[in-house]
Symmetry: C2
């Protein structure tokens, strides 16, 4: 397998792009793809400061690396979820800290959920409310990311979601025909309310195997443990289904995601039939929620407290 650009030994083939690249040209190609994605969806500019949500995994650290290389102003955010199994959260944190240190001390904010809120993610499983761990954890992370982005005045929060992540969520939403999610899922979630931060996904055009290959070739040291709670996650099943599809028909995963974005842009979906209720402030934390009520994050915390009593 030869590099299509220099004829050297290719380290990766990307059939959906009909492209084979050597290490050097692959490391140059990935940031170009990301830059194109950032511009295509008008995610942010070089004059703005972006908060990069990093988990210590290959995707988010690759994202941070690429944004730095592209000359964007970035700060990191690591949320320590308090997952003690195999020291998952602390090991992940050390990878993030080492990354920031290796780049000459990048600005990095760390939110320790257990220290700041008194409880960690594992406690969520004890409330017996049946809310799935992963969805509760997602809620907690969104809440904290939004709080930090809002307090720090960042132009956007960038997350490391790749095309496989986005396609898996899209498949899930499609299999249930969840209109409100289908209307919203996008590379950019606009700040639709003054209290909500803008969210962007600059890796959304890259396959997971490409972000993985980038991290390896670039010798980024990332946490290789999987979150102990994610093992049975439905998302993993959907990713496998999509990979099966990809093996049957090269590029099918990319086509599924990109043709969705295109069809929606061209007006496939009718506007939401009922307009969303006016947002106000959560009476406990002040984050946007239905006016006068507790936000989902504060309700979750309240449920844990009631469970303890």
């Amino acid at each position: 397998m030869k590099c299509d650009q220099c004829g050297g030994v290719a380290v990766i083939g990307m059939p959906q792009h009909r492209l084979h690249l050597c290490a050097e040209h692959f490391l140059a190609w990935v940031p170009r793809m990301v830059e194109r994605t950032i511009r295509r969806y008008q995610m942010f500019t070089h004059d703005e400061c972006v908060l990069v949500a990093v988990s210590g995994g290959k995707d988010s650290l690759s994202l941070w690396e690429i944004l730095i290389e592209l000359g964007y102003q970035t700060e990191g955010l690591y949320i320590n979820l308090g997952i003690a199994h195999e020291d998952y959260s602390d090991v992940s944190q050390r990878h993030v800290e080492a990354f920031a240190a290796r780049h000459g001390g990048l600005p990095l904010r760390i939110v320790d959920v257990r220290r700041e809120y008194g409880r960690g993610i594992p406690d969520l499983g004890k409330t017996g409310r049946g809310r799935r761990m992963c969805s509760a954890c997602g809620l907690v992370k969104r809440h904290i990311m939004n709080r930090v982005a809002r307090e720090g005045g960042y132009a956007a929060i960038a997350t490391g979601h790749n095309l496989d992540d986005e396609a898996a969520v899209l498949l899930q939403n499609t299999l249930h025909w969840q209109g409100s999610y289908l209307r919203r899922q996008a590379p950019v979630l606009p700040a639709s309310h003054p209290g909500l931060a803008r969210k962007v996904k600059p890796l959304c055009h890259l396959y997971e195997r490409e972000t993985a290959a980038y991290a390896l070739v670039k010798e980024i040291s990332f946490v290789e443990l999987e979150c102990p709670y994610s093992v049975r996650a439905t998302t993993i099943f959907y990713k496998e289904l999509l990979n099966r599809l990809e093996r049957h028909s090269r590029g099918a995963k990319q086509q599924f995601y990109l043709s969705f974005l295109k069809a929606r842009e061209e007006g496939l979906f009718a506007p939401e039939p009922e307009s969303a209720p006016e947002l106000g402030e959560c009476r406990a934390c002040g984050q946007p929620t239905t006016a006068g009520e507790l936000c989902a994050f504060c309700r979750l915390w309240q449920a844990m407290e009631e469970h303890d009593d």
Copy 2:
């Protein structure tokens, strides 16, 4: 496994309905389900005559059997496609004729494509136009079904498509986000033009394993050969993907299809951005097509003639 209705030995479990039934109660349940589907989508009434498109397979013969049992006025239509491999078309025809004879000589129309049009389906492969065999064959069948239904003045053409068929097509349309297909795919295709017959799919709420079980328990003699051209059909791959999904999450296949119909009914999709061109008559055969042109069927036949020259 016990029958939920009589406690006898169940012959089938249908997890998506949380239902186990013995042979007797299953044979009673299937027509009830079909009757409910016919009424739910207002497919046709007992005062109307329905043309049942039969291939000799388990689905279409079961459909005919059920419609007779439910007391509907039916006539059969068998299209002999001229597929000689393993005598596929002739064997299928004999199954259909035997079925009609066994029911006291049901009215049955037979269209022999090779005899009436001079060429069979296998000749389609020779034009080298790259049109896939299955899609060309579908075109031919739709053309003939429409012609016969129109000449005979039937209220509707009923086909044996089951939920697996419909879900597979839906998955295909969804993976490519083909808006015009997503807006149209339905248990009833209305006669949107005077020259177009109404089409209905009374088995669309039944899983393929249920129509197969019905045919077996009811001892319907059907052709067990698969069409020699369908072996590598993409539809089969999508059916396998959906069965994998079903094994992971019982009822997922049904939910995918039914929640699609519901979401669309509730206005998920915006109207087609451009209205379809006004239909006129094909200048060769008179069937509906863009005014003044040849319809796709006649163009296909023309291509075969040009190829022979």
